[in-house]
Subunit: 381 residues, 2 copies
C-alpha cells in the first residue's frame, strides 16, 4: 500500500484537485513548491511562508524542494542525518521533496568545456568532470574537485539520510539536440536505474519516511516518452515525475510534449512536472492533469531585481520607478505589494540594501502560489 | 506643552521606567532602538520585529532609528515627503528617531586624508570634503561627489520632510584627542546651532510631527559637559541626547563620563545615550538614568557572522561548530536560538546563504532588546 493517501476533491476534463496526505501532513494539489536548494530558500526566513502576514489569505505552503546533490556535498547527508534529518536541521515541519541529483551532475558540467562525446560515453579523458557508466555517474565536486559517485541505490540512501518525504530516482539526462540514438541509450539506462532504485528501496519501504518517484524525460521524442511512460508506470506506486520540458525548446513544442506526456501518464498517482514556472505554462500543465510544480526562478529573478507581473516582469532597477508610488502589481495583494511601492523597492536596489531581494523573492513565490491556489479555488466552486 | 506625554512607572535611585506617548504610540523606556540607516534595517523584514514568531514573548519594538544624512542624499527627503513620509515609505507604523547627520558628515571624512586643520577651521583647500563655517557645514556626497550644505535650520526641515518623530539638532563633533580649545570652540558653535534649530522649529512646533533633542558631547572633559548641559537644558523641552562616549575611549573612562553627565542632565525628560551597545554598558547607563539606546553593531556583527552570547561572541564561521547541534546561546530563547543550531548557521555562512546574516542579526537585536526588557520587568516587580 502506498504511504501517500489521496482523495479526489474534483475532476474536470484532465484537470484535478486532490487532497494528499503523507507523513501526517495534508495538502491539496495542484501545488507550487518553492526551491530550498541548500537547506534554505535563498534570502527568505522560511517561517514567513507559514505566516499570514506574508502569505495573506492563501493556504500556507506545505511542500518545498531541496537539492540532494548540493546537500550531499555540503554539509553532507551524514551530518544532516545526525541532525535528525533536514526537517529538524532547517526547521521545517511540513513536507520536503528532494531531487535525485541526476540533473545537477549533468547540468553543472555541461557547457564547461566538457565535450559532448565524453558525457555520452565516459570517454578516456583524464580531465573528465562527469562520467556515465552502467553502475552510476562519477563526478568531481564543483566545490573542491573531490571525486564522487552516485549510483541509483546510493542516491536513495542519501535521500533517506536527508529524511526526504518524496524522493526521486537517479536519472540520466540528455542534452537538447542530442542524437536520438544517444537519447534512447540514456532512456534505457534510466529505466535500468529506476528498477535498481526501487529494488533497493522495496525491502525498507515501510521503515523510511519517503516515497520514490521515477522520472520521464527525452525531450520532444514522443515515441520515447510513450515507451518510458509504459516502462516507468510499473514503478509509479506513489507518483511520477516528468522532466526535460522547460529548457531550450520553443513554447509551442513544450506544450505539445506536456499534453502528449500527460495523456499517457497513469492517472491514479500525483504527477510532478519539473522546472516549469511561467504562470501560463503552469496553468496549461494543470489543465493537462499535472499536480506538482517547482522552479528556482521566483527567487533567482527576485535577487536580480525582477518581479512577476501581468504584462511582463517589472525590472525594479529601472530609473522610471524612482518616484513610482504604486505597488509592483495591482492584482497581486502579496505582502510586498500590499506594503511597499516601486519607489521604495527601487531605492533599496539602488542602495544595494538586500531587502529588495527578500521582498521581490517573496512576491514572486507568492505570485505563482496564488495562481495555483486561485485556480484550485475556482475548480472547487 | 510637550507633544511627548510621559508617566513615571517606577524610579529606583537614578534608574527609571517611564511610559511615553508620542504621536499616538505608547512605549515604555528604557528602550533599545534598532538602526534603520537607509530606510531599512539591513537584511531584515521589519514586520518581523512586530511578530511574536520572531520576538517571542517580549514587547514589540516600537522605536527605530533612521539616518538623515543618508536619506537626504538618497533617495532624498523630498522624495520621501512625496511618499507621505518615512513611515509610509518603509511601512513602519510606530515611531522613528532620526539623527541629525552631524556625526555622519564628521565621521565620513575623518581619516580619509582630510587634514585636521581643515576640519577645524574650514581651511582654504579646494579638495576639502567637509568644511565647517558659522552658517553650517559644507560637504561632498560620498556617493557622487556633489556639494551640499547642512545648516541647523535646514536639518530640521529635512527631518520634518522625513516625518521624523524624534529629531536631533545639527551638532559639531570633535575628534577624540583634539585640543581642548578646539573642542570648546565646537561646543560653543553647537550651542549656537541648537539655538538656531529651536528658534526655527518654534513657530511650527505644533504643526509638525516631531520633537527635537539637543546633543551634549565633548568627550571626557567634564567641565565642558557640565557647561553644555547647563546651556542645552534650556532646549530640552522633549528630551536630550548625549554623544561622544562610545568610540576610542577606555571602558572605565566612558563609564565615569556617562555617570557624571547623567548626574547633571535634567530629570524630567527622556535621555538618549547615543551609540552605546554592549550589554554591560547599556545596563550601566540604565542604572545611571538613561532611557534610550541605539547601535548598528547588532546587525553589522550579525552580517559578519558574530552572535552576542554570555561569555563572548560566537563566531559562527569557526569549524568547531560544524557538528554543534546546540543553539547560539542557551539563555536567549530568540527565534534563531529556538529554531536553529550552530551547525545549521555554520552551514549557511559556509555556503554564503544570506539567511545566516538574517538569523544572526535577529538574534543580536533581540539579545539587546531582551536585556533592556528583562531589566524593565525586574524593575516593575
Amino acid at each position: 500500500m502506498s504511504k501517500l493517501d489521496f482523495k479526489i476533491l474534483k475532476q474536470k476534463w484532465n484537470a484535478r484537485v486532490w487532497q494528499i496526505t503523507l507523513n501526517g501532513i495534508t495538502l491539496t494539489t495542484p501545488v507550487f513548491m518553492p526551491v530550498w536548494t541548500k537547506a534554505t530558500i535563498k534570502w527568505i526566513v522560511l517561517d514567513m511562508l507559514k505566516d499570514p502576514t506574508y502569505i495573506w489569505d492563501l493556504p500556507e505552503i506545505k511542500l518545498i524542494l531541496a537539492n540532494t546533490f548540493h546537500l550531499y556535498l555540503r554539509p553532507g547527508d551524514e551530518l544532516i542525518k545526525e541532525a535528525w534529518g533536514l526537517h529538524t536541521f532547517e526547521n521545517w515541519d511540513k513536507l520536503i521533496l528532494t531531487d535525485s541529483g541526476g540533473f545537477q551532475v549533468f547540468s553543472l558540467w555541461l557547457g564547461k568545456n566538457v565535450e559532448w562525446s565524453i558525457i555520452q560515453d565516459g570517454g578516456g579523458n583524464h580531465d573528465v568532470k562527469m562520467k556515465l557508466t552502467e553502475d552510476g555517474v562519477t563526478f568531481r565536486s564543483p566545490y573542491d574537485g573531490s571525486k564522487h559517485m552516485f549510483t541509483p541505490e546510493w542516491v536513495v540512501d542519501i535521500q533517506c539520510n536527508l529524511w526526504s518525504d518524496i524522493m526521486m530516482v537517479l536519472d540520466v539526462c540528455s542534452p537538447s539536440g542530442a542524437d536520438k540514438k544517444i537519447i534512447e541509450k540514456h532512456m534505457q539506462m534510466t529505466h535500468r536505474r529506476a528498477k535498481r532504485a526501487f529494488d533497493h528501496l522495496k525491502p525498507k519501504y515501510n521503515d523510511v519516511r519517503g516515497v520514490l518517484f521515477p522520472i520521464v524525460q527525452w525531450w520532444t521524442y514522443l515515441d520515447l516518452r510513450q515507451e518510458s511512460v509504459d516502462f516507468l508506470s510499473n514503478y509509479a506506486r506513489d507518483g511520477i515525475a516528468v522532466g526535460g520540458v522547460s529548457v531550450w525548446e520553443s513554447k509551442e513544442l513544450i506544450r505539445e510534449v506536456v499534453s502528449y506526456t500527460a495523456s499517457k501518464l497513469p492517472t491514479n498517482v500525483p504527477r510532478y512536472l519539473m522546472g516549469v514556472w511561467t504562470p501560463e505554462d503552469i496553468t496549461h500543465a494543470i489543465e493537462e492533469g499535472f499536480d506538482m510544480f517547482d522552479c528556482v526562478l521566483p527567487t533567482r529573478l527576485g535577487r536580480h531585481g525582477q518581479a512577476f507581473a501581468t504584462g511582463g516582469n517589472v525590472k525594479i532597477n529601472n530609473a522610471k520607478y524612482t518616484k513610482d508610488f504604486t505597488p509592483l502589481t495591482n492584482d497581486c495583494g502579496c505582502y510586498t505589494c500590499k506594503n511597499f511601492t516601486k519607489a521604495y523597492l527601487h531605492h533599496l536596489i539602488k542602495e544595494k540594501e538586500m531587502l529588495w531581494g527578500i521582498l521581490l523573492s517573496l512576491h514572486n513565490i507568492m505570485y505563482l502560489h496564488k495562481i495555483v491556489e486561485d485556480w484550485k479555488t475556482a475548480m472547487l466552486k
